[in-house]
């Protein structure tokens, strides 16, 4: 595996990210959350502090796997009012860059553009996502996922009510 060329690595990672984006757009959240490792972290920093550290600063989201599963259960519930009825989303994932770390994990960054439509309105979330992916046999798992927004605030959306 160490001999894998960058284009081949990127191809593998892109395939994974595109599959992940489709699961999210299709609201197959139970399958999506199964992509994470048991020690995974999902994080969205505040718009005014993109480098924010959840151990020190105020962020929007900092989930371990337990709270991420609870987030998914919440989004699956009809009592998640901001997403009931569910919004329509379409994600575009691009500019994928992959680096292999010394312990054979993959450090990945990608640009995202997530359009969300609901209640007669639509607006994009624009940003980048940083991943740490771990190999699991032939497949990959998400150990760390940090979605950093480029917008200056959430004035278009009022909330982060979908997975970014």
């Amino acid at each position: 595996m160490t001999a894998t060329s960058i284009p081949a690595l990127r191809g593998m990672v892109e395939e994974f990210l595109f599959r992940e984006a489709a699961l999210l757009d299709d609201w197959r959240l139970d399958e999506w959350v199964d992509l994470f490792t048991h020690d995974a972290r999902y994080m969205v920093p505040s718009t005014d502090l993109p480098e924010g550290d959840p151990g020190r600063d105020l962020v929007f989201i900092d989930d371990d796997l337990m709270r991420l599963r609870a987030r998914v259960a919440r989004l699956n519930s009809r009592h998640s009012h901001r997403e009931n009825p569910r919004s329509r989303t379409r994600r575009f994932v691009s500019n994928v860059r992959v680096e292999e770390t010394e312990d054979r994990q993959l450090s990945v960054s990608a640009n995202i553009l997530v359009y969300r439509f609901r209640s007669g309105e639509g607006a994009p979330y624009v940003g980048s996502v940083q991943y740490i992916l771990r190999r699991d046999g032939e497949d990959l798992r998400i150990a760390y996922r940090r979605a950093v927004l480029d917008m200056e605030d959430l004035s278009w959306h009022g909330a982060v009510s979908i997975i970014l």
Binding site: S46, H79, S119, S155, G158, A159
Partner: protein
């Protein structure tokens, strides 16, 4: 019934029938551009409005930019250690002096014509000054301050009304609740870096109401309540409904509070399984400290009760799973901008701080398990108001009770009564439900509030 095109008399916008226990607000209060303009003049240009916390500018030269009551402002700590507030507009031609949200500067220079000012606001540099002739007086061109600036326990407020009463008088019964927030710490409070900024397509008053509204908790936030139940709290829907009612209070001058016996954890001194076993002894120690310092009763209020405090008109201090400062800036009748900060004890760091930061995120904030559903509720109301044939919103709950709880609505009526008085050009009014008795008239400044709360809540 009024024709929709014909504005109502201000006096008729609120129905407040204390005998029958009927309180209604006309929905044009949430949608009329005329009323929105009137609010700007009679409320936001006249009251004390929150600006920021002293801890946001710790070192000399630290500055923060804000929009407050529509005005661009910034505050900066001077070389002398004093915090000053300035209108963010160059006295020369108007450009914004401070063009970042936060930073540190020794000299504040306007980029347009390069006039420069020190952190005390004095004009110290004018390129080609000779051309202005001998009558040019730099003292005339210092940075301008809002007409009134004051702080209470580190919370800075401004007012554009030269005749406004002293801040500590204005805060009335809210002072005691701010004290409860600050005194639970050993070394005071600070705002952590990072803020949650979002906008809601709804009238600003709906968030003031919502932040005090205990009645919506179970239906709107069921997913949060279920999540907490799964973590080992007894805050399941049933016990929540059956729990002590807490107290809703009008504290005078429009300030209101909703105060509960906490079932969830309070990072200050009430342990909860969500904090983990390792936090148990630390939290027990903190509690013993509070009891030693303040006695059993006040320690109980700090550790075991939580409070959502509205400082009229547009500031909320939410002290429950963590302490949040929530500022509401109205931008249009049907739109508000919200900024939330996290207030923590200065002495906390490491694991204790991490626990608290984590606790905040579960409920609070636009990425939490509850706030998005509030945003949805408020926007849903605002859209619903377009059905103008439904003219009134009802806020009567618990109006005939002698001691309304948090799922009653005295704390919202207190807000609306002040709002209505202000809109009529009056500064003060009786914000309580009943006929004003002596004890109620004294309530806002009474130190006996806590005893009354415990009696009602147990």
């Amino acid at each position: 019934m009024k024709n929709a095109a014909e504005p109502m008399d201000i006096r008729d916008l609120v129905i407040d029938d204390r005998k029958r226990g009927v309180f209604r607000v006309h929905r044009s209060c949430m949608s009329s551009p005329d009323l929105f303009q009137r609010e700007r003049e009679l409320i936001f240009d006249r009251c004390w409005i929150y600006l920021g916390h002293e801890s946001e500018v710790e070192r000399p030269g630290d500055y923060r930019r804000r929009t407050v009551a529509g005005r661009p402002l910034f505050f900066v700590r001077g070389k002398d250690g004093q915090v000053r507030v300035f209108l963010n507009s160059c006295p020369h031609r108007g450009a914004m002096i401070c063009r970042r949200d936060a930073g540190n500067a020794k000299i504040l220079r306007c980029f347009y014509h390069a006039w420069s000012f020190n952190t005390e606001g004095e004009l110290i540099g004018v390129p080609g000054r000779d051309a202005y002739g001998p009558n040019f007086d730099p003292a005339e061109f210092g940075l301008k301050e809002p007409v009134r600036v004051d702080s209470y326990r580190g919370f800075f407020f401004v007012s554009f009304n030269p005749d406004v009463e002293e801040l500590s008088t204005y805060l009335a019964g809210a002072r005691d609740y701010l004290d409860l927030v600050v005194d639970q710490t050993q070394e005071g409070v600070r705002v952590v870096p990072g803020s949650n900024k979002y906008a809601i397509k709804a009238n600003w008053k709906l968030l003031a109401e919502n932040s005090l509204d205990g009645y919506h908790l179970i239906p709107t936030h069921r997913t949060y309540v279920d999540y907490m139940a799964g973590l080992g709290t007894d805050d399941s829907g049933d016990t929540l409904a059956a729990r002590p009612p807490g107290a809703g209070r009008a504290l005078g001058n429009g300030h209101c509070v909703s105060e509960n016996i906490s079932r969830n954890g309070r990072p200050i001194a009430r342990w909860h399984p969500v904090f983990g076993e390792e936090a148990k002894e630390r939290i027990a120690r903190a509690r013993r400290r509070l009891v030693r310092k303040y006695g059993e009763e006040r320690a109980f209020r700090m550790a075991d009760t939580s409070r959502n405090l509205l400082i009229y008109p547009n500031l909320l201090i939410m002290d429950f799973v963590a302490i949040s400062i929530r500022y509401i800036e109205p931008v249009a009748p049907d739109r508000m901008e919200v900024t939330a900060w996290h207030l923590v004890p200065r002495e906390e760091s490491g694991a204790a701080l991490a626990t608290r930061l984590d606790s905040y995120l579960t409920f609070l904030g636009p990425g939490g398990f509850a706030t998005p559903d509030d945003v949805e509720a408020l926007e849903s109301c605002q859209t619903g108001f377009r059905a103008t044939e439904n003219e009134w919103s009802d806020i009567s709950r618990g109006m005939l009770k002698s001691r309304p709880g948090t799922s009653d609505e005295l704390q919202m009526r207190g807000f609306w009564r002040q709002w209505h008085a202000n809109m009529l050009g009056e500064d003060t009014t009786n914000v309580q439900d009943g006929q004003p008795t002596e004890s109620q008239a004294a309530a806002p400044d009474s130190e006996a509030d806590g005893t009354g709360h415990r009696a009602s809540a147990r």
